[in-house]
Structures are given as structure tokens and as C-alpha cells.
Amino acid sequence: MTASESNSLACSRVRVLLEPYSDGALAREDRQQYDALRAHLAGCSDCRLQHEQAISLPFRLRALSSPPPPDSLVAGVMRTIASTRLATRRAWTLLVPEAALATFILWYLSGLEGITSVASGIVGDLLGLAGWSSGSGSLPSIPHADVLLLLALIALTAIAGYHLSILIRLTPAGRTGSGARRAASE
């Protein structure tokens, strides 16, 4: 018996309705078509085969097996996290020398008067050095405090640069895959 003889639904229409029929939507939404499809399936072996495949698909999908996760998965993540935590801690710790150096520099400059005296001192030192190099004067004696200020500025710049490089690496947008891949291959 063919499908057309057994009921009013054509096989092509049945194939379209098999999905909502299998997941129960057709029974809820269109009871008449649901009954017609049931009647069709009873008389059409081809569509019955299609229906069997349709209802077995979710089971087959749920039964798909994957290899077990390798032991290195959790260990690799923990290593990546530990290095992130260390870098975060280091990033915060760097604020201490930065703050100390900045305080020292600010204390030394102590407002506009301090800045102008440092600036005039630097200009005087440079002019003295220029005179010394041309042979028209003696080597200027630079105050120890100015050398300290210069060293503090160099140290602050270096620490701030290092700090910035750590902060860039800690940015969440940074891809972790390459790090994770390295950890996995270790």
C-alpha cells in the first residue's frame, strides 16, 4: 500500500513534519496533522524508516562518546592561573616602590619654588659643563641631592615601564590559548 492510498498526507509533506512530530511539537500544535501523520506512518514503510532515524538521532547524539580529558588539562589551567596570580600580586607590589619614589621626588621639588630652583640648577649645571668642555671654566660641582633626584627619576621610569608591561599581559582580552598550549606541551 502506498502512502497516498493510505491517507491524505504526501510522503514529501510527512518528511517535513517528522521533526515536529518526533519532538512532540506537532501533537501540541496541530492535532489533526499529528493524527494524519500517525495514520500515514502506519501504512508507509519508507516514511516509517525515516521516522525511526529521526527519533534515534537525539539518542545517538546523546550517546556520542569523547576521549576522556587528559590529566594535563586541570594541571595546565592551574599553572596558568598560578602565574596570573603571581603577576597580579607583582603588579600590586610594584606600587610600593613607585609610591616611595614619587613621594621622594615630590618632597624634593616641594611646589613651584622647588621646581624652579631645580630647573635653574639644571640650567646652571649645563652651562657650567659647557664652559668646562670649552676650557673657559672649571668643572661645576653638582649637588648630591640633584644626583639622587635624577637616579630616583630613572628608577621610577624603569619600574613604571615594567609595571605597564605586566598590566598589558594581564589584560583579559589577551589570548590565553598560546599560554595554555605551551603548558600542555610541557
Binding site: 521533526e19 515536529p20 511539537a25 525515516q50 532515524q53 529521526a54 538521532l57 537525539p58 545517538r60 547524539l61 546523546r62 550517546a63 556520542l64 562518546s65 569523547s66 576521549p67 576522556p68 580529558p69 587528559p70 594535563s72 588539562l73 586541570v74 595546565g76 589551567v77 592551574m78 596558568t80 592561573i81 598560578a82 596570573t84 583579559p172 589570548r175 590565553t176 590559548g177 595554555a180 598550549r181 603548558a183 600542555a184
Partner: protein, 191 residues
Amino acid sequence: MEAEVALDARLVGGVTAVEAQASTAAQLVGQATGGDLDAFERLMRSLQRRVYGFAYQHLRDSYEAHDLAQEIFVKLYRNLGRYDSTRPFEPWFWKLAANTTINYRRKRIPMPAELSHELAGETQNGQHDPALLQALAQLDPAYRLPILLHYYADLSLEQVSRSLNLSVAAVKSRLHRARAQLRNALAEMDE
């Protein structure tokens, strides 16, 4: 009647187990957010099988799956602070996993040889459903992701919709099309 009672008991038992699992996960998330690395490790161990399996079924490459699963967990750790503990953990987590997977695929360099190599290995080992795996591999990622989240990660339609930022109707439609494509591919293989 007895069978019905037994079924009810199993269902109640199942629901209780799921609830217990969810409450444990929520507890571990709370501890991990507070900086407890042991709790985070336990949380990861409870999720790793599904996360690795999900990554593997999506990428069909064990090395890439390992890489993606690690990326998902590292992102989880970094984003724990953003998790709203008044909401269920699983949909939030799988949304993060789905986004990481989508971005991972965008950055990934395609390697055409890998698929046939992996599938050939699996067929020889006889561990899987090779026809279905092949059909799944041919599926567009936009359809494969909801299929894996719904059937493999066992998320409800609503959870899938929240994970992928789609309406429930859109998820239903994608699942419907994905199943139809899978059935067609399977039928072609049978012929």
C-alpha cells in the same frame, strides 16, 4: 502502579541529584570567587569531562580540544567575579564557553587534513558513531553549537537560548534544521 511509583522515585531521585549537583557547583563557585584555588580545581574537575567532550565534538581534534578547554577554564577563572550568584551557574558558564568557542574558531587556522585523520582513527578504533560524527563535522558551526549544547552538554532549550543570545524560537529552528541536515547526511551515507 508499582512501576509508576518506581519511575516517580527515579525522577525525584534524578531531580534531587541535579539540584544537589547545582548547589555544590554554586558553593564551589562562591568559594573560588573568594580566592580558594582548591575549590576552583574541584569545580573544574566536576566540569572537565563535559567541557572537553564539548570542545572535542566541536573541533574534532584532541590537541585543539585541549587548548580550547583550557581557554574556557582560564576565562572562567578570570570572569568569576562577574558571576551573579543569584542566578543559576550552568547557563552563565555555558554562555561563556560558547562565546570562547566562537572566538576560538575565528582565530583558528583551519587544517583540512585533521578531520579525515581523526575520523579515520575513530572508525578504526570503533569507539564512536562514525557516520554521525562525519555528519556532525559537515554541519555549519552555527547549527553544530546548539546541537552540542542541547544534546551533549544537556542544556535545556532556554539555557541554550541564553547561552547563545538567541530566542528560544531561534534555537528550536536551528535545532530543527540541524537535525534535518544530519538526517539527510546520514541517509546519503546509507545509500
